[in-house]
């Protein structure tokens, strides 16, 4: 899916209205430690240990790690939902503890539920009003978000009757309703079928094009690989690897050549060339490249739909 709409305004439009200080860093996490106090004689639990990283404005940053590695806790501290035990976090240069730092943030929690008694449209109006939007402009914006997320036909239905994928999409719509410069997405594709998951991935690509900074966690590493500029890998509350995705996943001593319609003779000559090379070069693998199961599923279901 590719969205070509203008409903998500570019970051510079959004930033023009922001009252916060300008900063090239959308998210700053410095020496963050979070300890949950033990209750009733239980030991304290250290969820995040001396974590430092930053997310540059306009980039998509993926935070990955096993369950319990501290990703969600880090996100909650960034959003001001939890107070850090030590260190600090900032959003566009404003301390996360300050409520005004959230003016430029949209958040989609993992497995979100919204007020079941509200319809899709009412949900967006509710969150828009909390962000200071009102009147006809809020209604227009809500309609745009419903269109963007493909929920126009469900706008009058109560959210209590939404499917898992629809909940994720209304969650994205509410996160975007006030045109934030930063989107924080906690497992945005959790429990969503591959097609819905792909749509969410495409939306993230679209946000990136429009200059919206995205901080995202997901267990679907292949999808993160497709959208992220930089990756941080957390384990046991610590950042164990961090950097540009291309740098992290490149195998430096190997070269990949993908040929189309190559004859067996050509392949044989390539093998011979490599074998004749005086250096240490060798052919590690030669054969048909594999597609992914996700791509196969999507192609099969798309063909069936057509």
């Amino acid at each position: 899916m590719s969205n070509t709409d203008d409903s998500v305004s570019p970051a510079n439009e959004s930033s023009a209205r922001s009252a916060g200080p300008r900063s090239a860093e959308a998210v700053t996490v410095e020496n963050l430690t979070k300890v949950f106090k033990g209750q009733l004689g239980k030991k304290a639990f250290v969820a995040v240990r001396d974590l430092t990283f930053s997310v540059q404005a306009g980039e998509v940053y993926g935070l990955i790690g096993p369950n319990g590695s501290g990703k969600s806790t880090t996100m909650k501290v960034v959003l001001g939902l939890l107070a850090p035990t030590a260190g600090h976090t900032k959003i566009f240069g404003t301390d996360s503890a300050r409520v005004e730092s959230r003016q430029d943030v949209g958040f989609l929690p993992e497995n979100p539920y919204f007020y079941k008694h509200l319809t899709g449209m009412e949900t967006l109006l509710f969150y828009g009003r909390l962000c200071g939007l009102h009147g006809a402009r809020l209604r227009d914006r809500a309609r745009e978000m419903l269109h963007l997320t493909g929920l126009e036909n469900a706008s009058d239905r109560r959210v209590g009757g939404y499917s898992k994928g629809m909940l994720q999409r209304i969650g994205l719509a509410q996160a975007l309703v006030h045109e934030p410069r930063l989107l924080v997405l906690d497992e945005p594709t959790a429990g969503v079928d591959p097609a819905g998951s792909r749509k969410i991935r495409d939306l993230i690509m679209e946000f990136k094009k429009r200059g919206i900074t995205v901080l995202v966690t997901s267990h679907l590493l292949e999808q993160l690989q497709e959208v992220c500029d930089r990756i941080g890998i957390m384990d046991n509350g610590r950042m164990v690897r961090e950097g540009r995705l291309d740098d992290l996943i490149a195998v430096e001593n190997q070269t990949e050549i993908v040929l189309e319609d190559a004859s067996p003779e050509l392949l044989a000559r390539i093998r011979d060339l490599v074998a004749a090379d005086a250096g240490k070069a060798s052919v590690k693998q030669m054969g048909n490249p594999r597609t992914t199961l996700e791509r196969l599923f999507l192609k099969a279901t798309e063909d069936k739909d057509q």
Partner: protein, 308 residues
Amino acid sequence: MSNGTPSSSAPAASRYARFSPGRIWTLAAATVTQLVRMKILAFVIVFCMIVVAMGFAFPVLNPEQQLKFLKDVSFGALQFFSVVIAIVATAVLMPRDLEDRTLYTILSKPVPRHEYLIGKLLGVLVLLACGLVIMDVVLSGVLYLRQNIVLGQALQAMEHEGAATPENIASVTASVAKQGLTWSLHVGVLAIFLKASVVAALALLISCFASTTLFTIVITFLFAIAGHGHQLFREYFLEGKTTVAMEKIGAAVLAIVCPDLGMFDVVDNVTKGDAPPVSDMLYLGGMALVYVTGYLVVSHLLFVEKEL
């Protein structure tokens, strides 16, 4: 998801305001909608109307007693259900928001935590006020009708007995009017609302640290019951009616922590047809405001430290 969206001018969010009545009202309105769609109000109205109808059914000895019974039963129902709704409606709100993660999406917007608390409480109070106003109107209408019927029957009986002298007619009319629809009825409903407001604020405070909805409901009920015996605690504490130190300390703590709900019980006077003086009602209003504000401040202190 669809491809392409009509472009529009960017709707600029207003600059962040530290205190926004608009945000509070948005939260309050959502709370009212939530509770109304949970059928809480409908349940109260239906039940209270049944009770009012039962008021007609009581066998009575004289016209004044008929009206007094009607008011007694109706006010009893109003008091009971206003307190029940204040506790239950408030107790379910925050745990549900936390459980559904709605709280995350709300507080990740530029919404200070105190505005969230005020909005939730305001929503409950608006719902209570609406419910009580509807019941007040229904009760007033029923009482007015019943008053006319009772007066008509009394005058008919007097004429039948040949006792319909101008003095007797004036006496019966005055007596029935005193027990009938008077302004004191609305004052009584107002006192019930003030008491329910205090109880709702207390429930909100308890839900800020409670781990379950059931805990909030049970503890608030216990405090509400204890609050009706507030005078007793004060007497123990201030007048030294007990010599045991622990009892005195316990009574003192309860006297400080529990709201004095007994002070809002003006219903006995109202059902007798006596309206409390304006100064008394102003005092009650002021005390309710002090309690609600105090509980909100403590709620905020607890909630702002809450790990979400």
